[in-house]
Amino acid sequence: MLPFAPYVIKSLWRHRARTILTVSGAAVAIFVFCFVGSVQEGMDRLTNSEDAKQTLIVFQENRFCPASSRLPEDYVRRIRELPGVKEVVPIQVWTNNCRASLDIVVFNGAPPTKLRQTRDLKLLSGSWEDFGARRDAALIGKAVAQRRKLSVGDQFTIGDLSVKVAGVFASPIAAEENIIFTSLEFMQLRRGQSLAGLVTQLEVALDPNTDPDALAKTIDQTLRAGPVATTTRRKGAFQASTLADLVDLIGFAHWLGFACIGLVLSLVATTTVMSVQDRIKEHAVLQTLGLRPARVFRLVVVESVIMCTIGGLAGTTIAIAILAWSGLSVGAEGVTIAFRPSWTLASIGIGISLSVGVAAGVIPALQAARTQIVTALRA
């Protein structure tokens, strides 16, 4: 096929406005597909990661918003005594918006020493020492820092909370990069609040080979006699439940992704059909010169694949660049889903472009290959 490359490329360039519009359309559709895909990937990471399966969240029973869950901090000691529990981290959560939002800011107040022990946070700037030294110090996830243009030393205020950036961190769990960590004490004693001795939730790290669901039941039974009843779930289940409304929306967006693929398919197929119909006689001439019908078929499919792949590459590249640059996330009730670029997403975007290119080219290619030579030459 390579010797025929000039013919294929020049044929595409023959109706350049049409080709460029088709490629642009494919790029936009694949861009949307990748964006929707990144939301789904974020949701999957949030609910199916190892951390989500092997960590438990203890929340106040029948409470869904972090503002309304209040557990005694003393529960840490009682849970810690149970077999299979490796560590318990008390967390006071504050968010600027309990509803679904694209710019949600979530503060997690936790003891700095426990935070350092239990979380795999990598400081990109600042230091743990500075974080431990000041009561209003904050470690901010790199996505928040990127979005809000914050760096070490900056002082900022959101709602009632005014903190100073002691460090910017990266985390293997993308959603964590949308969190601002402060000390538990700072969050409990913030202005206008009297939350000393109370926390929003408890995060329970398990020993290896511990059954999370059995331990969750044990925790709830143990604390049933306490001042506040609890609901304990795996972190993934807790997050999925908290984001239930968004999960439905994301499920719907999944179909939007498929619609985008359908759009590319029909767009490229239409352009290729038009291109073939414009060249019925030309394909008859090529076959008269000695091109096999199968070769004519391949030439048309290659044209379709080139249009789709260029559009797909452009759409995927733009989507990945924006995802990497923007640090976007969506969240509700203090839980966030991070939109992150990934090689898997890029491969899927390009793979789908190639496949759609082939599929879109088949019918017009058959049309070209089955041209009745004599009839077409007389046209």
């Binding site: 025929f4 023959r14 010169l289 000695g290 091109l291 096999r292 030579i373």
Partner: protein, 237 residues
């Protein structure tokens, strides 16, 4: 054995309620190196016969052998391969690919042959030189005159060094002067390169450049007597 052997060839097709039979039990032999013209009024089946020999149309009965290969029994794909190696086709309306240069148009059939890049390049240059268009190699069809376009079409037909060249009214869309130039060129290719040619035309003047003249009349071929009036086009080139 003749280069082209046609035996019992018939072709008919339906046009509304009517069945038209332009060729009925046709027999014909064309020898290697012949320059044959096939005349007849419009609609008598000249182009149909040429298309059948070229393997782009199918007869309802009969056989066509070209250089020992039975064209009528091959599949579409096999016929394409056969045309690439053995047949040059000159169209009435040039049918050049508009997005390709003259060089690239001539190169197209050569791309299908097992040739190295340098051999292919030489073949294309030789073909363009034969039609005296080397200086227009990088021009696109829209930048060429009608006569030049037809010469590119001729170069494209001969680049693969085919067994036979068929031409369907090659001067039909040209003015008298350009038509004369093309006739001279075709004659030269036959005389100097020894190419076997079958030329379809309705113009007796054009037909007179051929050494052998046939007439298609009511589905049958009539051999016209050789006359002294055959033009010595070889010398004119």
């Amino acid at each position: 054995m003749s280069l082209v052997e046609i035996r019992g060839l018939s072709k008919s097709f339906r046009k509304g309620d009517e069945t038209i039979s332009p060729l009925v039990d046709v027999d014909l032999d064309i020898e290697q190196g012949d320059f044959v013209s096939l005349m007849g009024p419009s609609g008598t089946g000249k182009s149909t016969l040429l298309n059948l020999i070229a393997g782009i149309d199918r007869p309802i009965a009969g056989t066509i052998k070209v250089a020992g290969t039975e064209v009528t029994s091959k599949s579409r794909g096999q016929l394409a391969d056969w045309r690439a190696a053995n047949l040059g086709y000159i169209f009435q309306t040039h049918n050049l690919i508009p997005v390709l240069t003259a060089y690239e148009n001539v190169e197209l059939p050569a791309l299908l042959l097992p040739l190295s890049r340098s051999d292919r390049h030489k073949r294309v240059l030789t073909a363009l030189e034969a039609v005296n268009l080397l200086d227009r190699a990088n021009h696109y069809p829209r930048q060429l005159s009608g006569g030049q376009e037809q010469r590119v079409g001729i170069a494209r037909a001969i680049v693969a060094n085919p067994t036979i060249v068929v031409a369907d009214e090659p001067t039909g869309s040209l003015d008298a002067e350009t038509s004369e130039q093309i006739q001279v060129l075709l004659g030269r290719l036959n005389h100097e390169l020894g190419m076997t040619m079958l030329l379809v035309t309705h113009d007796p003047n054009v037909a007179s450049i051929a050494g052998r003249k046939l007439r298609l009349d009511r589905g049958r071929i009539i051999e016209l007597p050789k006359s002294d009036s055959i033009r010595k086009i070889g010398a004119a080139g």
